[in-house]
Amino acid sequence: MDLNFLGIQLLNGLQLSMLLFMLAVGLSVVFGLLDVLNLAHATFYMFGAYFALMVSRLTGDFWVALVVAPLLVVLIGIVFYETLLKRIRGNHMIQALVTFGLLFVGFDLVRMIWGNGFHSVPEPALLAFSVPVFGQTFPAYRLFIIGIGLLTVVLLYFGLERTRLGAVVRAGVDDRETAMLLGINIDRAFFITFCVGTFLAGLGGVVAAPVFTVTPGMDIEILIPVLIVVVIGGPGSLKGAILGALVVGMADTFGPVLIPQLSSFLIYLLMALVLLFRPRGLLPTRSGAH
């Protein structure tokens, strides 16, 4: 095993980490902010991929899909928020269960519209080449995913740390009651956070579409590692989501290479270790897990 090979694996791991991050951060911050575990987050991701399929077929242009598909997902998210989530505010368990029901509904909805089959979305022509790195070639599109992920990290960091809204969100995650006593409009902050999270889930679906196959069931396939990211990182924080995503992405990439016996169990094992020693995650927020 030479260094070049490790370098390529590192890029692969980074690419997976960035995808996981885009999904986990929305789930995690929404969870940290209002205790809402949105299992249908994975459904948004799946719809992102299917909308990408639809739009890129209609227009023949991936770049249009990259912009339009996540916005369509946000639209669905808003409908879901206004019709269902608002109605059952305050009861976290019922909210989680409703999103769980949506997981079933979304799964069959996709089958009704697009059928059972496997689809693929071609990567954009602009990026259909390979870059020589570490003495080998690496698909430019995967570097693009890493780039999108890093851009998301930077934008979210500035959004959370440098804007008023970000301060409100952080205050809400840290200590909801105090934030509300201070007259902070937590509802609006929550709505915007929810929309941003949903947008990122949709975006994740779009950028994942050319790499993974687009198929019903891709929702749960991503949901499990994303939940593990949230458990490992600790819910509620940007840093937790980044750390969790890196741990899971790297473990899933290097696990099969370095410890083939453990292969796909490695991430579960890591989750178990975290539960054992840091049940609130590696980087918990002050209010932590409830």
Partner: protein, 341 residues
Amino acid sequence: MIPARITKRDPLRAVILILLFGAAFVGAPVANHYWLEILTEIGILLIFVVGIDFLVGYTGLITLGHAGFMGVGAYSLVWIAHIQGIPVSIAMPLAILAGAVVAVIVGMLVTRVSGVFFIMVTLAMSMLFYSWAFKARRPFGGDDGLSVAGTIRLDLSSIGIDLDDQLTFCLFVLVIALLIYLLFEWLVRTPFGQTLGAIRQNENRVRALGCPVGVYKVAAFTVAGAVAALAGALHVQSTEFLHPNVSYWIKSGEGLIIVIVGGMGTLVGPVIGTFLFVLFHKGVESLTTHWQFWMGLTFIVIVIFAPDGIYGRLRTLAGSRKRKRKLHQPLDEEADVRADA
């Protein structure tokens, strides 16, 4: 004056139980192949589901990974009986024991978190089992599954029971289901069950009273895990085919849905739920392939508008009728007017 009972009786429970099980036991001998299959499925699902209600409705541990233990039961039984060639009569208790042992270990991990977090972690743990089973080509056939026909049914011929006969097997499953139901019905009425209920209602208070709450959560998790392993062992005996899907999240999800739709924390509610679920499933299946869509939608509506489930509604209805009758005993005509309307 000291009241005769601490907790109130719930006679409606017994009535419904007798009606449903009565129908199953009376119906089985006259049922054809198709209906016997359905009744057997109901029996096995019922064992799985009352275990979930014990966890969700009584102890307050909302699990979304309980099918993992069905998988443990099914795969242990196949490994011990089909692959190692040990008699099923020995293998079955061992499979249940395996479920209990795995449940202790998993329970100690997952009960470190609570609430909504618990849902995430149990889901992930069950998918760990699923992803293992999915890849375990040898000796379990991975995602192709494994036919275990002829080697997996319990042999009770020594006491004159032939479980290879479909009707006999169906009755056998129904009897076990009834016994498991009664076991839980008993457990929840004992000090142990009462403690679990108190933990669900107010964990901190129970701890302040001097109870090591974590131990009791793990104990409940273990009982439910062992019972799910039993359900898994019966499932693989019924279908004579081993497949990872027995532990898939959809199976766990269906179990949770049945419990909540039926009325969690009532035991008999989930029994109603199981009957309705299987019958509804068969009915919708013949009309559409998009069964999950309708199930998900029904579930959402019930969770929002009737969170106490079917049995909760029935009890409220029965309670309010009784109260009305007491209030208006001399005024029979009012009841008549209501009946006409």
